[in-house]
């Protein structure tokens, strides 16, 4: 099934849900869509500034996959919500409080090590998530997940290979990779934290329990960190709040750039 066919799917095939569950499910789809949108936006900042041409291509390619996922997920959220909001209305006219992405994906690019560690921690998680979402009782989400899981597998492999090269490269690259890991580790618990509505969505077979992804994610992360000779940071302070709209200071700046034209020329078509 290609992207256009997915987007053209009528909301008619939406699962029958009571109004409360439906609203929670829309929020969950925004969570997935916003993850792709914000991380894609961050990777887009690298365009033309990568450490080597092949990485410019790879990072742009990953950004493109993530923006593609965001488009399908936001479209699906809009269809199920049924209030007439399309992908652009959702991406360009919500304020930070209504964004549902993980705090991890909005963190600044930093150096190449930070960008790759962020990508790996995220993609190892999104791979496990999309793998399970291929069995979602929402056929729209299941179809999106079938495409996204293949992309996440490539993103995970690409960033994981870089973690190994950097960790097991030079003293400087190891220090930078370890610093990046130490900086970002506090954002990882959020990926497995359930929100109050998640149990109902899981019970309806729409999504997996967030905590159920943890063992597979841990196994992958442990394997790559071992090969990279990097040390798993101690569980310290944890940062969370993305799914309830409590973001880091960075999101407002990301949105001011992302939404600039739509805000400056309200209602214009592009």
């Amino acid at each position: 099934m290609n992207e256009t066919e997915l987007m053209d799917q009528p909301a008619a095939n939406a699962p029958a849900l009571d109004a409360g569950t439906q609203a929670i499910f829309v929020d969950y789809l925004l969570h997935l869509g916003d993850n792709g949108l914000i991380l894609g936006q961050r990777l887009g900042e690298w365009c033309g500034h990568g450490p080597v041409l092949e990485e410019d291509i790879a990072m742009t390619n990953i950004a493109l996959d993530l923006i593609g996922q965001a488009r399908m997920l936001l479209t699906r959220a809009g269809e199920i919500e049924g209030a007439g909001r399309d992908e652009d209305a959702l991406a360009y006219t919500r304020d930070a409080l209504a964004f549902r992405n993980l705090l991890l994906v909005e963190q600044p690019n930093g150096d190449f090590a930070l960008t790759m560690v962020r990508q790996f921690l995220f993609s190892a998680w999104s791979y496990e998530l999309y793998r399970r979402l291929t069995a979602s009782t929402d056929p729209g989400l299941a179809a999106i997940a079938a495409k996204a899981v293949k992309e996440a597998a490539y993103h995970r492999r690409h960033s994981g290979e870089w973690l190994i090269r950097l960790g097991d490269g030079t003293a400087e690259s190891k220090r930078r990779a370890q610093d990046a890991l130490d900086d970002l580790w506090i954002f990882t618990d959020e990926m497995f934290e359930a929100q109050p509505g998640d149990a109902a969505l899981a019970a309806a077979g729409l999504i997996p329990e967030p905590s159920s992804l943890r063992p597979d994610w841990e196994a992958m992360v442990e394997r790559v960190l071992a090969e990279a000779t990097l040390t798993r940071p101690d569980p310290g302070f944890r940062r969370e709040g993305g799914r309830t709209g409590r973001h880091s200071e960075y999101l407002g700046h990301i949105l001011s750039e992302l939404q600039f034209l739509q805000r400056a020329y309200p209602g214009a078509q592009w």
Partner: protein, 324 residues
């Protein structure tokens, strides 16, 4: 003196055979004998072309985070990715002539190598992304279609592949302009302003007039160049003026006229002083472009070193394992 066939009095048998092969429209391949001048000219031209793709990512990258819809953002990302890919195959084509990518990169960074000076102009509004696709990629296609018949095989083949993607970019650029031209008055003004700024530089992309072009005659004999600068420029003008009319935008040239007899549009004088200044002095943002490329390269040094160090460690471990 070089005559029209490129043969010179006292040429060696190798040189004569080389020229005869070109005259028979056969392609020169990397392992074939070639005159040093041919090799050097190609390395200069192909690397310049590769650098243009790479530097060209910067003015477009400037709008990735601000693209006005998710579809436009995805299309722009895909375009920039294609350009990086074009840079990669062009560097590979130059490598078949014994030029190393690191040396070519260094020549770009220290100002010895040139790139298309059009990228030394800034992208000030979203319409510039449309204008670059429409005019800059449009001009590039006219040049590149001619290069698909270049005598050097790897370059000609790289061009065939690049041309297909460029024509897609050109259509997307034109489509951006169309939406703006048919949009709100502010959007139309944005489109007209972009055309006003990019038209002159786009005409200059074809290089100086034939009468002032230093490399032309020899490159024509070698079939590195198949058509003259002025010929290609005229084709671009004839193709683009009606497209602007269709958009209801004005070409910023009060002297532009249609010549019924020749069947061509005629443009007013091109500002060659500006061209010289931009080529030599970098133009409005030339210094920034090179500074950005150099910075990316310098800041990425530790990444490239790490990749090499890791590859070496793996190689040693493999050898050790094999020895045990």
């Amino acid at each position: 003196m070089t005559n029209v066939t490129g043969l010179q009095a006292g040429e060696s048998a190798e040189e004569q055979a080389f020229q005869a092969k070109i005259d028979r429209e056969e392609r020169i391949e990397p392992k074939d004998w070639m005159p040093e001048g041919y090799r050097k000219t190609l390395v200069r031209q192909i690397s310049q072309h590769a650098h243009s793709e790479i530097v060209g990512m910067l003015p477009e990258g400037n709008w990735v985070t601000r693209a006005p819809s998710l579809k436009r953002k995805a299309v722009l990302l895909a375009k920039i990715q294609d350009e990086a890919g074009h840079g990669l195959y062009l560097y590979s084509a130059a490598e078949t002539l014994d030029a190393s990518r690191d040396e070519m990169t260094e020549a770009l960074h220290d100002g010895r190598a040139k790139y298309s000076s059009i990228f030394n102009y800034p992208t000030l509004s979203w319409a510039d992304i449309g204008a670059i696709g429409w005019l800059v990629d449009g001009a590039a296609i006219v040049n590149q279609v001619a290069l698909c018949r270049c005598s050097y095989g790897p370059y000609a083949r790289a061009m065939e592949r690049i041309c297909k993607e460029e024509s897609f970019h050109q259509r997307q650029g034109y489509e951006i302009m169309m939406v703006l031209a048919q949009g709100t008055p502010e959007q139309k003004e944005m489109a007209q302003d972009a055309l006003n700024r990019w038209w002159g530089p786009a005409l200059m992309m074809f290089g100086p007039h034939d009468s002032n072009s230093v490399h032309s005659s020899r490159n024509m004999a070698w079939k590195i160049k198949r058509r003259s600068n002025d010929d290609l420029r005229q084709q671009f003008i004839d193709m683009t003026v009606p497209q602007a009319e269709y958009l209801d935008l004005s070409i910023p040239d009060p002297d532009l006229t249609w010549n019924e007899e020749t069947g061509h549009y005629e443009v007013g004088p091109i500002d060659w002083d500006e061209f010289e200044r931009v080529v030599k002095g970098g133009g409005p943002v030339g210094r920034e472009r090179i500074r950005d490329r150099r910075r990316a390269w310098e800041e990425g040094a530790w990444v490239r070193e790490a990749a090499l160090a890791h590859a070496e460690k793996r190689r040693q471990r493999k050898m050790q394992a094999a020895a045990e």
